[in-house]
Every structure is written in C-alpha cells, then in structure tokens.
Amino acid sequence: MSSNTITHEADHGHHEAPEVVEGRQRLGIWLFIVGDVIMLASFLFTYLYLRGTNTGNGWMTYLEGDTSAANFGKPVHEKVLSSGLNWAIVAVTVLSAAVIWFGEKHLRSRQKGAGSFSLIASLGAILALAATVLTIMQLRSIDEHIPYHVLSQNAHEFVYTAYGSAEILLNGSSLLHLIILAFLGFGLAIRASKGLVSSEGLKWSQARFVRFFWVWVALGSVITAAVTSLVNK
C-alpha cells in the first residue's frame, strides 16, 4: 500500500449511493439480531439449566413458610403458568409480524403505498401493544402462586422458585421486546405518513429492517413458548 496507490478516484463526492448505505444498515441490523439471539440463548440456557439441576427439588416446589398457617413447612407445588395465555401471546406476536411483513411487501410492490403502509404499521404496533398487555397479565399471574418466606416476625417476603424466576426473566425480556416493537411500529407509521417511508427509491428499506427484527422477535417468542411448554414440571 505504497503512497502511489492513492492516485485514483474511487468515487465522486462525499455522498454514498443509497444501495451502499442500505447494505451497511442491513448488516448492522443482522448483527444486532445476532446479539439478541445470544441473549435469548442465555435466557433459555438459564431456564433449562435450573430445570436440569433442580437444586433441592426446588424447581417448582417450596415449603409453606407462613408461621401463622396450620400447614407450616408443608411442600407446596407451584402451578405451571397458563400455556394457553403463553401461546396467545405468541399468536398475537406472530400475527403482528405477519402484518408488518405484508405491509412491507405491499409498500415495495406499489408506486404509492405509503398511506396504506402507515395504517398497516399502526396495526402491527397495536398488535404488539396487545401482546404487551397479555405479557403483563402473564407476569402478574406468576404472583398468584408464589410462596413467601418469613424473614422476621413481621416481615413476609415473597421468594419465587427457580421456575418462577426463569419465567420472570423470559417474560420480562419478551415485554421489553414488545415495547420496542410498538415503538418501531408507530415510528414507521408516523414516518410513512410524512413520506419518509415510501415505495420510492430505497425509502422502504427502514420498513424492511424493522421487519427483520419483528420476525426475529416473533420467532424468539415461538422458541421460548415451545421450550417452556415442553419442559416445565
């Protein structure tokens, strides 16, 4: 790479072609998804590891700790979280991903699809919000079964079992992702209404990147639900 190699002009001006920028952003979103895949893998590793070790047979079992209760010290078996609600969250998330995917295809295939895409992106975001509400319901349902330990005479502290803990981690992660999806969906809708996302040139590329992430979140929810449904008790 001697100095005489800097002799030729590779481009004309400091502005890059939209295709080049699009390709870079595409790789960027894929790499972020890779990071997210590793994060989900670590969550599922946690779930399966705790289930596999089942330390002290405490995966889903706890000893009743309320000194005022007659059955103090009796083993109590925690209930598995509602599988139906779990799959309902998955269904809504997958549906929202399908809506966004359809919207993006629709946008790319039409000359003037920005107005309808704005509505479709809003619908996707609303579905993500609906899944968010369902996930909050699922998280609250964990509290219905949790035990509590007596730490002192007057202080009762809730302590989740390993199963409840792992479910909190997975559902908490799901909640965060769904909020991000809603943010992205409404953002796309606003941008489409302003003509910043449209079928012109490569103005649809942001919709495509959001779709990549959205589909990954939906796929992650399917994997998570499958693992927690098949391996629990």
């Binding site: 190699t5 590779a10 790499l31 946690t46 705790l50 405490g58 502290e157 803990s165 606003i190």
Partner: protein, 623 residues
C-alpha cells in the same frame, strides 16, 4: 470575495440554531443524570413497600437506571431515536454539527460523531479509568506490605480489590479497541467514518454513563465479593452491588453497539481494492475482537440482570433454598469471562504486530497465519470457560475436554508469538519506543502464557487455584502484555492524533520502570502463590511477608513508570516535537493522510493496489 462570504454564512448556519439539542454536552449530561438518579431514588417511595428487606436494593437499582437514562438524555444520545420516531430527520447541517465541524475543542465535550474525536475521547477515558484502577491497586499493595490490616478494614479492602479488578477489565477492554479502533481503523480501511457515527458516540458516552455507578459503589458500602462477584455472595453483599450490576449492563450495551459498528465498518466500508487479504493486521484484530465481544458480552448482561432480580425482586436464580444454584452464575460469568480475555488481548496484539512490521522495515511474517492465529484464539476461547471451574465440583466428567481445549489454545497463541518474532527476526530494527514496548510484550506474554498452560492442567489447578500464583499469571497477561501493547500503541499512533512525537527519552524511562516493576511485582507474586498464599485476603501469615514486600516495591516502580508516560503524554501534547504526517514512514492509510486528519479523512477515496506491508520491496511491486 463572494465565495468567502458564502463560506462564512455556511459556517454561521452550521454553528448556530438547532435549539436545545445543540446545547447539550457533558455538563448537561451530568445534570440530567443526577436529576434522573434523584428521581429514581425517591420515586420508589410511592411504589414499593419501604418495610421490605429489598427496598434499599430497589431504590439503588432504579436510581442507577435513572442516572444512565438521564445522562443519555442530557448528553443528547436519545435525540436520534426520538427524532426518528417523530419523522424529524437530521439535515446535512445537523450532521455536520454533530460531527463537530468548526467547534474546536468544545467538540471533545459533546456527543460528537467524528470517529477521530471519539477515538481521542476513548483515549482520555481509558487513561482516567486505568488511573482510578491503578490508585486502588496501589492502595491494595500498600496494605499488603506487611501482615495485618493497616489503613483500611477488611470490608474496604475487599471493595478496593473488587472495584480494582472490574475497573481494570473495563479500561483494558477499551484501552486499544477504543482509541485506535475508532481513530485509526476506519482510516486504515479507507473509510470516511465509522458505519454508524451516532452509535459510535453512543458507545463512548455509554461507557462514561457506566463508569459513574461503578465508581459510586465505593461510596455506598462497596462490594465485597471480588470482581467475579460470585453468587450467592453477590446476593448477600451491600447495596453497592446494585450500582455495580447496572454499570456492567450499561457497559455491555456499549460493547455490543461498538462491536456491531466495528464489524459493519470493516465489512462494508473498505475502499476499492482493500480486499480482506490486504487489510492491515490491526484492522483484522479489531474485526475479530469486535465479533468476539458481540458473542461474549450478552452473557454478562444476563448474569447481572439475574443478580439484580435476585436482590430486588425476590427471584431465586442463585439461591439453593428455592431451586437456584451458584453454578449458574459461574457458567454465565465464565462464558463471558474467558472470551473477554481475548476481546482485550487481540486488539493489543494487532497494534503490536503493526509496530513490529513498521519498525523492522519488513513485511509481516506470514500475514495469513497471523489472521488464522487470531481467529483460532477467538474460536477456541468460547470453548474453554469451564477451566475456571475445575475446583468447584461442576461437571467433573467435562474436566478432561476443557483441559484439552485450554491447552489447544496455546497453539494459535504460539503462532502469534512466531509471527511477532518472525517479523522482527533479521529485520532492520529501528529501536524507537513503540518497538521497545513490543519487546517487553513478547517477554512478558511468554511468562503469562506458559503459566496459563500450567494452570490449564487439572492437577496443577487443583493446587494453585485461589492462590497468588493465579493472580501473578493473569497480571502478566493483562499488565505485562495488554497494557504494554496499549502503551506501545499510544507511542506509535500519538503523532497521528496530536501531530507531535512523544518524548523518546521519557518513553524509554517509562518502559524500563514498567518492565522492571512488572518482573519484581509478579515474579515475587508467583513465589507467594507457590508457597501457598491465598488470593483476595486482606492479611496473611508472616512467612509470606518477604515476597509481599518485594511485590509492593515492584508495584511502586510500575506506578512510577506509568506516571512518567502520563507526564510524557501531557507534556508532548502541549509542546512535543512536531512529527509531520508520517513520521515512521509507514505504508498503512492512516499515515498517508494529512495531520491533523480532515473531517472526512480523504478528499478522494484511495484505490488500493498492493498489500500494506511492502517494506524492503521495490516500490509498487504489487501495484
């Protein structure tokens, strides 16, 4: 005349207006961060049971999160996402403003997107964090000069020890990849900036956001569980653990963003002719280090999230009485922990191999083997984590396989040695300070590497684990090797960022003090360990006193060496000898652009026609 007036108008337009967002800087970041922290501290009064045992944990967690979010808001990091959401896209003038155009030194205090500014900011930040970790190291060594505790009690000693470890890990992660992965790497690729300039600024300021809660731990009771923060001790220690955990999660966000940016820049922004087999070796090291960080760091965030939940939300990931297990922590931590060693090491190796070829005036010895060596280290590093757990009783049947993979990693590591030695072998050595630091690296890393092979053997590890021998081993790697690489890189690339040489004489004094100090400190520490002195203890039996006195003296010698280099940087930045754009007659692109480097690096993007290491060959032989 007309052109001059137009230019002035343009500058005025770029420098004024923009309202609130253009007034954000480090100071407003601090102000909003403090406001966020206070809100986070007082809001829980309305939501949580203040009689609960986790109340203090909940308050500190939310307060630390409030600091981070407030700081992001105050520095301007959140402006991009919300502008995107509202459809208020940046104009070209906005982008130029963010890049710090015509803002002089003020841009170093702002959310600036110019990769060269970010590189300098990283350099200063790394020095500040290394300084803080170094001060703690000196306090630790001073306390260990004789048996018994002296000016700190055991809890404070443990806090110093824990914070020293994590500060040094964080500062070494950013010590080479931060300054030079930002300042140098894009230019080496022939790019005008990083792939995502705003994310680049985000990664820098997120480390700043993480540093504050990390340092805060000392003032709210500290953490007493070591830098590895093993569970369940981490669940039982004081509230400092909460801010520590938030700091780590915040830092992981930074490394993830930086990893994506680095990989994207190298894969998609190389100039015409810059094929992968013509990439400078430091850029290859940045690519491999960035990708490895992208894999490893999420495990740390997950582990710290579980720690926070266990402490403040009643979960039981690590509590055996409710079905959890401490082994979960150890697995998650070391799934991150061992690759992280190479996230730190590989960029330093890349920088040193650049130095080797430039100052030997020879092509890099076996360029493709060097890349293979670094890739081999990265690949194997994800398969060795359980060698840190040989003595824990976890999966003893896996001990053999993990011993094997750990020993295998010495092969690609040995290849890197061969490349470095092969490059300088029979070279026309130009014994300037950067090359001297490389020599020191080679000597120290042999000791650090070979003792690592000893420790990979289960029988030896069963004896030496938890002793000062292990401490000496990894300090030879981190201080004797990575820090030497980082300082060598500063001496090498400083002329490019400042236009001035670092003083040669002070550089040599600094090197010899540091080199001698490392041998005195850590050879004595090996002896302490071989004689059975356990690590992490505030006091020790009198039989270990001699070697501890020697180690403490050595530590002061290292400190003197570091202070000489620090003084050298400050003095030379102000009034060092001017260096010109290419003082080392190097052939990589960063040396072929003017100094100071223009805003977008190249007026015209170069076309590359040969590899970067054609030293000693006829000019243009590969053109």
């Amino acid at each position: 005349m007309t052109a001059t007036i137009d230019l002035q108008k343009t500058h005025a337009a770029e420098s004024s207006g923009g309202g609130f967002l253009r007034r954000l800087n480090f100071g407003t970041g601090i102000i909003f961060g403090v406001i966020g922290a206070l809100l986070g501290y007082f809001l829980p009064h309305h939501f949580f049971d203040n009689q609960g045992s986790a109340y203090a944990d909940q308050c500190t967690v939310i307060s630390a999160v409030g600091w981070v979010v407030g700081f992001w808001f105050g520095i301007g990091a959140l402006a991009g996402p919300f502008k995107w959401f509202l459809g208020w896209d940046q104009t070209h003038a906005d982008e130029m403003y963010l890049a710090g155009k015509n803002q002089g030194k003020k841009r170093y205090w702002k959310y600036c997107t110019d990769h060269k500014v970010v590189g300098v900011q990283y350099l200063v930040l790394a020095m500040v964090l290394l300084g803080a970790g170094g001060i703690l190291a000196m306090l630790i060594r001073t306390d260990l000069i004789s048996p018994g505790t002296h000016f700190v009690n055991q809890q404070v000693y443990n806090s110093f020890l824990s914070l020293h470890g994590m500060l040094m890990i964080i500062s070494l992660i950013i010590a080479v990849a931060g300054p030079w992965g930002n300042f140098v790497m894009p230019i080496q690729c022939g790019a005008r900036d990083m792939a995502f300039p705003r994310l680049n600024a985000l990664s820098l300021w997120t480390v700043v956001a993480a540093a504050v809660p990390l340092l805060t731990t000392l003032f709210i009771g500290g953490i007493q569980d070591g830098w590895t923060t093993y569970a369940p001790i981490s669940i039982q220690t004081g509230i400092g653990m909460n801010t520590f955990a938030i700091a780590i999660i915040t830092f992981v966000i930074s490394t993830t963003v930086a990893g994506v940016n680095t990989v994207c820049t190298i894969m998609t922004m190389r100039t015409t002719g810059m094929s992968l087999d013509r990439l400078p070796i430091f850029t290859w090291a940045s690519l491999i280090g960035g990708a490895l960080g992208l894999y490893a760091m999420p495990f740390f965030a997950t582990a710290m999230t579980m720690t926070i939940l266990d402490r403040s939300a009643g979960t039981s990931f690590f509590s055996a009485d409710s079905g959890g297990t401490g082994w979960l922590w150890e697995n998650m931590f070391w799934l991150m922990g061992h690759p992280e060693v190479y996230v730190i090491l590989i960029p330093a190796v890349g920088a040193l191999l650049e130095i080797a070829t430039v100052f030997s005036r020879k092509p890099l010895f076996s360029y493709k083997t060097a890349i293979g060596g670094m890739a081999g280290i990265a690949g194997l590093s994800i398969l060795v984590w359980a060698h840190h757990m040989f003595t824990t009783g976890w999966a003893p049947q896996l001990g053999g396989p993990f011993m094997l993979t750990t020993e295998l990693i010495s092969i690609p590591t040995g290849i890197i040695f061969l490349v470095a030695v092969g490059t300088i072998w029979r070279g026309n050595l130009w014994m300037k300070t950067p090359l001297i630091w490389l020599m020191g690296f080679i000597a120290n890393f042999i000791i650090g590497g070979v003792t690592g092979i000893y420790l990979s053997d289960i029988p030896v590890d069963n004896t030496m684990h938890g002793t000062m021998f292990v401490v000496a081993h990894f300090h030879y790697v981190f201080v004797g090797s990575v820090l030497f690489g980082a300082i060598g890189a500063v001496y090498f690339w400083f002329p490019k960022i400042s236009g001035r040489f670092l003083d040669e004489k002070l550089g040599r004094i600094s090197f010899w003090l540091a080199f001698i100090g490392v041998q005195v400190t850590f050879l004595a520490m090996f002896v302490s360990g071989l004689r059975g002195m356990p690590r992490r203890y505030a006091s020790y039996q009198p039989i270990f006193e001699h070697t501890n006195v020697i180690s403490t003296i050595g530590a002061y010698i290292i400190m003197a060496g570091m202070l000489v280099s620090l003084a050298n940087i400050i003095l030379s930045w102000r009034s060092g000898e001017p260096s010109g754009p290419n003082p080392w007659q190097s052939k990589t692109l960063e040396w072929l652009v003017p100094t100071p480097v223009p805003l977008e690096n190249f007026e015209v993007l170069p076309v590359i026609e040969s590899d970067p290491y054609t030293y000693g060959e006829k000019e243009g032989a590969h053109a």
